[in-house]
Symmetry: C2
């Protein structure tokens, strides 16, 4: 069945392959918590308790379609993790905030993340990990990635260039 020799691939491929594995593994571990990576991206920001964060601001930052954000927030709100409150000063806007349950759920996510990293980088020493982080940060900075904003959110990146 498996008579196929592995082809040679470059650094970018390797990076994308390992990165995709990390994302898949994370998504799998998130499932028992009833969350997707997109939910977590939202919770991660709301957990910092930013003031005056509206759906529009969040959509712009994460590069999600506002219409997509509606559905994601519907789910988070239904589970009691997030609140949407109409702004009294501008009744068009809704102020977003994480609930206590939302913050607690996010701490669970952090536990999941720690477990993932422990497994995934088991073979790497402390120094190795520091070196890897440093190299990746330099690449990320070089190509202009925003810290904490995952490209998978909006594939509109294609249009920007």
């Amino acid at each position: 069945m498996g008579k196929v020799k592995p082809p040679r691939v470059g650094l970018a491929y390797l990076l994308s392959q390992v990165g995709a594995h990390a994302a898949d593994d994370f998504a799998r571990r998130l499932k028992p918590l009833g969350l997707t990576t997109q939910h977590v991206g939202i919770l991660r920001l709301l957990a910092m308790k930013p003031k005056e964060l509206t759906q529009r601001t969040l959509a712009d930052y994460l590069r999600v379609q506002p219409s997509r954000l509606v559905l994601l927030l519907d789910e988070l709100e239904r589970d009691g993790l997030v609140t949407r409150v109409t702004d009294p000063d501008d009744r068009r806007c809704k102020r977003l905030a994480a609930t206590k349950a939302g913050l607690a759920r996010f701490r669970q996510v952090e536990t999941v993340t720690n477990a993932l990293e422990a497994d995934m980088f088991e073979g790497l020493s402390r120094d190795d990990r520091v070196a890897l982080i440093g190299l990746l940060r330099r690449v990320a900075g070089g190509v202009g990635l925003t810290p904490g904003v995952h490209p998978a959110y909006g594939r509109l990146a294609e249009k920007e260039k």
Copy 2:
């Protein structure tokens, strides 16, 4: 508009973020060639001129659904990059091969890849790149990734575990 402070993220997140960027950038550069990353995954294997490669074998190796592979091969065949020949010994099987045009197209892909890597890792020295490759290979090996098989092909990875 952008009053959001960047949250702290870990190594796995950084990896997935940079990896997703690499994949997006590659897909963007592939578009003028009329190919997707999935097409390239197939071409990459066929460019090694393996003997007796059938659709079933390819699907198992790449972890694509056979039904999905049909469509991908339809496109590659329509563009004259790949041939499907019914095996005379077992008329159910089709032997796959890259055409001359297919091999030429794949060389163009390699040029695109080189350009991508030159841009993406511009800020890294030769030694940095070697170090990064080494670290990533160790992670890839540690989590059991198959060289040259991108997780994005089959999301059925979720079921295996």
